[in-house]
């Protein structure tokens, strides 16, 4: 489990480097645009890392949920709701990536050329959401798994379990918030 998790994390960290492939940041003339490449690296990082966090989180809660459902299949609805909670982080990362793709069309098309420092800035924009989501999802999953033990004893506590799990996610939301505002303020500065 630990080995596969480490492998997944390593691959996740390395995979965005595909953004540095020649085509990703190459102008029509053929020269490499390092700024654009870094921006793409950020876009990929936001989704990759946050989705890896969600993958680990959902699988952890899934294992705990499977145990509970064996004993109490009537709790399927509540268990699935808890299972999906650590899946939100993947969505947060994806939203940041989507917002870049759709709001920075001029940069992607090459109408607006960005410098290396601007590209690195865009890469940094992805980091708060990427890392808070990567780390919060597995920890949220642990709370959900513990909450499933509560549900096994008393299914009336579902609301409290969901609230407890949501508290962990608050910090992923804060990371998302900062990335969101950084992306928007940078857009205002760059594209007007």
């Amino acid at each position: 489990m630990r080995t596969s998790t480490s492998l997944a994390l390593t691959l996740g960290l390395l995979a965005p480097l595909t953004a540095f492939a020649q085509n990703a940041g190459t102008t029509m003339a053929g020269s490499i645009q390092w700024g654009l490449a870094f921006a793409f690296l950020g876009v990929a990082t936001a989704t990759f890392l946050s989705c890896i966090g969600s993958i680990i989180g959902v699988s952890l809660t899934g294992q705990a949920g499977a145990g509970l459902l064996t004993e109490k299949p009537e709790l399927a609805g509540k268990v699935i709701t808890l299972m999906v909670l650590p899946g939100s982080q993947g969505l947060y990362g994806m939203v940041i990536s989507l917002l870049f793709i759709f709001n920075y069309g001029a940069v992607i098309n090459g109408d607006v050329v960005i410098s290396l420092s601007q590209g690195i800035t865009l890469f940094v924009v992805s980091l708060p959401v990427a890392f808070t989501c990567l780390t919060s999802a597995p920890y949220q999953a642990k709370v959900c798994a513990a909450g499933m033990h509560m549900l096994a004893k008393d299914d009336k506590l579902a609301g409290r379990v969901i609230t407890m799990a949501a508290l962990v996610e608050t910090y992923a939301l804060l990371g998302f918030l900062i990335s969101f505002f950084m992306l928007n303020s940078f857009k205002a500065g760059l594209l007007g």
Binding site: T81, V84, K156
Partner: protein, 640 residues
Amino acid sequence: MAVLAMQKVAILTHISQREQLIDILHEEGVMEIIEGVGEPSVEVNFRKAELDFAITLLKKFASQDALHALRPPFTVEQVTHAAFHTDVCGIIDRLHVLGEEDAQAEREIQQQHHLRSLLQLWQSLSYSLDEPRETETTILLFGMIPLKHILSWRKDIDTHCPQSDIHIVHEYAGVAYVYVIIWKADHALFEEHTKKWGWTSVELPQLPGNPRALVQETILKEKLFLRKKETHNEERRQLASELPNLLLAQMYMRWIDERHRARSSLDEGWGSVVLTGWVPRSRVAFLERTIQASAPATAILRLPIVKDEEPPVLLKNPRWITPFQSVTNLYGLPLSSEFDPTAMLAPFFALYFALCLTDAGYGLVLALLFGGVLLKLRKSPEEIPLLWLLFLGGIVTFLIGILFGGWFGLLPEQVPSVFTKQTIDGTVLFRGQIWNLGVESGITFLQNLSLVLGITHLFFGIFLAGLHKWIHGKRAAALWQDFTSHVLLGTVLFFVFAPESLTDVAQYTLYAAIALLVWGKGYGAVWYLRPFIGLLGVLNFAVSMLSNVLSYLRILALGLVTGALALAVNQLAIELGKLFPLFIAIPVIVVILLGGHLVSIALNTLGSFIHSGRLQFIEFFSQFFEGGGRAFSPFRRTLH
């Protein structure tokens, strides 16, 4: 549209009318009995367990016709007739006898199998096994020895026990099966010299007949016992025709058990009995009338709720909102002192579900699919709320999807022009489409819509929190802690939309609203600490509002994912179709489109349902709702 108010009651009646009272309560099903400390009936529990055993066993042997012979709901006459006219004890006793005989037959089969495997390799032995194996001077031994050592062993035995006689009966898998006749006096010597060659003694049973005949006998006996088991199974299959009656008898046993529990909850004394419990306040008068009509020596006392006592919860909503109770139930029932959030979440849930799907085609499929199922089942929203919810969700998705132009991921250019229109700027859109999620403006709209819906939803939640406090007499707390947020929201809107001539007024109004919010959030603290506590409260409010509102951007993400998946399915089908000649390509494309879109609908429906629910549970409920109520569980004679 609420949590029904519960009345705690004590029903006092003369002891002679005890059974009548239990009958009425069981039949009407309006009272949850507060259970006493009475002993459970051992007899009833034993009978129930016996019946469960018979039903579980016979279900394995029942034909499809027997399994589907009865469909609930049943009538009381059906249940009582089955309970009194079915030989339940006879069936159970017969099943026990068959079980014991089966166990005996199984033991015999095992024994025969064991004997056969023991004698299988000794079939060449022509002696009867019941012949004496010892004389005054000699002894007969059976055993096995590895074939590779047999010559050395024989030589060794011939040397040390020359008066022995060795016979090889059979050779198999590198082992020789032998019998040896030796002098009794040489037995110890034989043992000493034979063990080193790997000799293993074999104890053959002393049975009449040679091994070959005995093996044949075991085969015949085993067949006999297997046939006996098959006969038992046939008898069970015949008994399984009584399964519907047994199921009804089981229901009758459940009634007896419930009545026994009710009886054990009665407090007796001075020729009267008292039963306490919970009744929906609106049904107390009806219960009073019903009881008075059948058992006149009865009184219903309305009791006050004691401290720390939590009444059970029963939700009652209009028919069209009832399906959304399944969402509330996922989180947990409200406490008896809380709002029922179902009506409040219903429009938001349906809207978020639709926006997360944003595909009219998918909505149409959902509506048709679940509409068809509902038409076939003919069940009310109270019975199958989830299916009704998905049906309603499908309809709303269809309507919202038209506005966003989502039709199975198709582009307007890919459909006949009769289904499309052209805008002033020349863009081709689907008929009825207003926003295009394929361009930046459409995505920006959905993003802003998500955020505006989030703000609306959250402030509505805060309003409900204030309303709850207001209703419960905490008016100052409601005004300061909750409604000041709405004042701020109003001034922010005024500030944003105010004409230029009123900018200064709007600005000062905004400052005043912020000051009011700071003072309000500090409610409950001593006056000199109130600004500081309020400031911390405002900070917390601002951060949680921002993060909660952004959480609604998942609507944008899920909405775009649906479109992207549908588009990918279409592209995959077309590209793969190009690889084949036309007569193969058409079925290939159809299969990929059908399979792909079905998978996409299933995945996206699940995602939309869960995430719409999550926006209710975490972002919305956290403003005003605690939950954790106990469901009202009436003493009721169920007929299903």
